[in-house]
């Protein structure tokens, strides 16, 4: 369970996140959406204490985040963050083993159990055969799967993802988010694609200029009125086998409204 209450974050004199709240209950997948620069990633960083909020409180299972020490936090919250590539040759197995580091003392060797956890995590994401490949040589989809495997090996019951579907082919986008949904782990995910958000998140929080303008189920948040105001785009919502999906059109294409069967 992750709860953020009235969180504000600033760089220098400017507030980038203003009094945002979020609640992700046990096993829920909460999507953070909003236009570029709306403060999604910044807000997410406060949820794993990489940024200290100017004001407000973040709690993990009702315990304030600042009471948790680094490794203690890492045992309970796993993160897939945006990372710049490294020149150093790191294998996939080493990358995933790193997820075991918070569970081991500084000088203790990784045990057989750690290696089993890595093998199991890699199998879970369908990447067991990549174990001895160099991470840098993987495709974008394979890399994201390996990063998710690291969070699994970490065995944390909270998962934070920052635009995990970036640079992924459409199939991998769906594969990844479906897998995340099946983990049963409390998850907060920053997403750009509103249809992915609608399909795979149980709840959404929409940010605009650092403020939460809506939160609730996808149906409550992704309304045509709000999307037109926040994103400046027209939307026709459809229900596809129980999941909300959106079809977008630019304002100037809308001279003849109601051309489809969409009912609002």
């Amino acid at each position: 369970m992750i709860t953020a209450t009235d969180v504000s974050v600033g760089y220098g004199g400017k507030l980038v996140v203003k009094s945002v709240g979020l609640h992700a209950g046990q096993g829920e997948v909460v999507g953070l959406i909003g236009p570029n620069g709306s403060g999604k990633s910044t807000f997410l960083r406060t949820l794993y204490a990489a940024l200290r909020p100017r004001a407000g409180l973040v709690t993990l299972d009702a315990q304030p985040l600042e009471e948790l020490r680094g490794t203690e936090l890492a045992r309970r919250v796993a993160v897939v963050a945006q990372e710049t590539p490294t020149d150093l040759p790191v294998t996939v197995a080493d990358m995933v083993l790193l997820g075991r580091a918070p569970h081991r003392k500084a000088l203790a060797a990784f045990t057989r159990e750690d290696h089993q956890a890595v093998a199991a995590a890699l199998s879970r994401v369908g990447a067991r055969d990549l174990a001895d490949r160099r991470y840098a040589t993987l495709s974008g989809g394979e890399k994201q799967r390996v990063l998710v495997a690291r969070t699994l090996a970490q065995q944390a019951d909270h998962l934070l993802l920052d635009e995990p579907t970036n640079h992924l082919d459409i199939r991998y986008q769906h594969e990844l988010l479906r897998m995340v949904g099946q983990l049963g782990v409390t998850t907060v995910v920053v997403l750009h694609d509103l249809n992915l958000a609608a399909r795979y998140c149980t709840k959404l929080v929409m940010l605009e200029n650092g403020q939460a303008v809506a939160s609730g189920t996808p149906e409550e948040v992704l309304t045509p009125e709000l999307l037109l105001r926040v994103y400046g785009i027209h939307v026709e919502p459809f229900s596809v086998r129980g999941a909300l999906q959106l079809v977008f059109s630019m304002a100037d294409e809308h001279s003849e409204p109601q051309s489809t069967a969409a009912v609002r």
Binding site: P85, A106, A120
Partner: protein, 374 residues
């Protein structure tokens, strides 16, 4: 909302509940991986133990390794003379080549460790104390303290301190120059290192020629290309102490270094503060490089080649990489020094020339391999 009924998709929330990690017999061949590392460490330790007496024996006056060991044993235990050797052989082993080989092993190990640490710090395979100007910084301030320190009443006791301060200052200067935001590209890092290095080299030479040093030429060679010729038992033991201390500290930080080598965000999400770790590792590396330079001058390329070869042996995990790199570096530099003092005897080559001849080709390969987009 319109209800469509296509065959695609599945309703949200209907996914099956979590399948926790299923542990199977599959352990990525944990036993084999562990044995592999220990075999490397044991093999290299054995190679080093053979290298030391053999290398002491090699030179204008050749001494058998067995004799070297007997001389050492007698000297250390104070026992009876068990073999026959001349006084000159004894003084070569105890006063000349013995300390020299001992110092060489320490310097090689230390340079390799500094290379590993700087590469993790910068996430860059080209990072190395010499190429980044850290060695030059130590050289400049050491030379200054030797040349002018005694005149200013500081004395050469401050040599190690000056070398440390120089290494730290040069390292920080290069990082600041190379930094764009929080990102350090290979190109900028190497350019910054080379330019800072050039300036400091020039400054060192200028200082030496500006002084009344009668052996100015030789001093310049020492500070810019290195030599083990000034080794004493004390300097060898002191350097070993610093290098072993560095190894222990870096081993304690090996997991954080693994994370840092992948990225700052990764480190942060695993409960490590990248800024603090980077500062701590930088200070330790500068201390180590300072001690090495004070004892042996500026030796390049060891910190570049050795970590690379060590990675080929045991992979990038620092817990394995650090001891293997240290051992490889020790063996490598002892043999490089044997080459330096025997290949053109009685002339002695500066050690940095030998390491550059051996190391530069690898630099070519690494430069070719670097990702062009970075």
């Amino acid at each position: 909302m319109t209800q469509l009924d296509p065959a695609l998709g599945e309703p949200r929330g209907a996914t099956p509940p979590a399948a926790p990690l299923v542990f199977t017999g599959d352990d990525l061949e944990h036993g084999k991986r562990t044995r592999h590392t220990w075999l490397w460490i044991a093999g290299l330790l054995g190679a080093l133990l053979i290298t030391l007496p053999v290398a002491v024996g090699l030179g204008p006056v050749a001494i058998e390794a067995g004799t070297v060991i007997q001389i050492l044993r007698q000297h250390l235990t104070g026992g009876q003379m068990i073999g026959a050797w001349t006084d000159s052989e004894e003084s070569i082993v105890l006063l000349l080549r013995g300390p020299r080989v001992l110092l060489g092993a320490a310097v090689g190990a230390g340079l390799a460790l500094a290379g590993v640490a700087l590469q993790a710090l910068t996430r860059n395979i080209l990072a190395e104390p010499y190429l980044l100007g850290v060695t030059s910084g130590a050289s400049t301030l050491s030379a200054a303290s030797i040349l002018f320190g005694s005149a200013a009443g500081i004395g050469s006791a401050s040599l190690a301190g000056s070398a440390f301060a120089g290494a730290l200052a040069a390292g920080i200067a290069v990082f600041l120059l190379a930094r764009v935001g929080s990102q350090m590209t290979s190109t900028r890092l190497v350019l910054a290192g080379v330019s800072v290095g050039y300036v400091l080299h020039a400054l060192t030479s200028l200082l030496i020629f500006a002084s009344d040093d009668p052996n100015a030429g030789r001093s310049v060679l020492f500070w810019t290309l290195g030599s083990l010729g000034q080794a004493t038992v004390q300097s060898a033991l002191l350097t070993w102490a610093v290098v072993l201390g560095t190894l222990v500290l870096l081993l304690l930080w090996s997991r954080p270094l693994d994370a840092l080598a992948i990225g700052d965000s990764t480190a942060q999400t695993l409960g490590i503060s990248p800024a603090k770790l980077r500062a701590a590792v930088m200070v330790v590396t500068a201390l180590c490089v300072g001690a090495l330079v004070a004892a042996s001058g500026g030796i390049g390329f060891v910190g570049l080649i050795i970590p690379h070869i060590a990675r080929l042996c045991v992979g990038s995990t620092h817990r394995k990489l650090l001891p293997v790199a240290a051992l490889l570096g020790a063996i490598f530099l002892v043999w490089a020094d044997v080459l330096a003092r025997t290949s053109m005897a009685p002339q002695e080559l500066p050690l940095g020339i030998v390491t550059a001849l051996l190391g530069a080709p690898l630099l070519f390969v690494l430069v070719r391999k670097l990702n062009p987009t970075q």
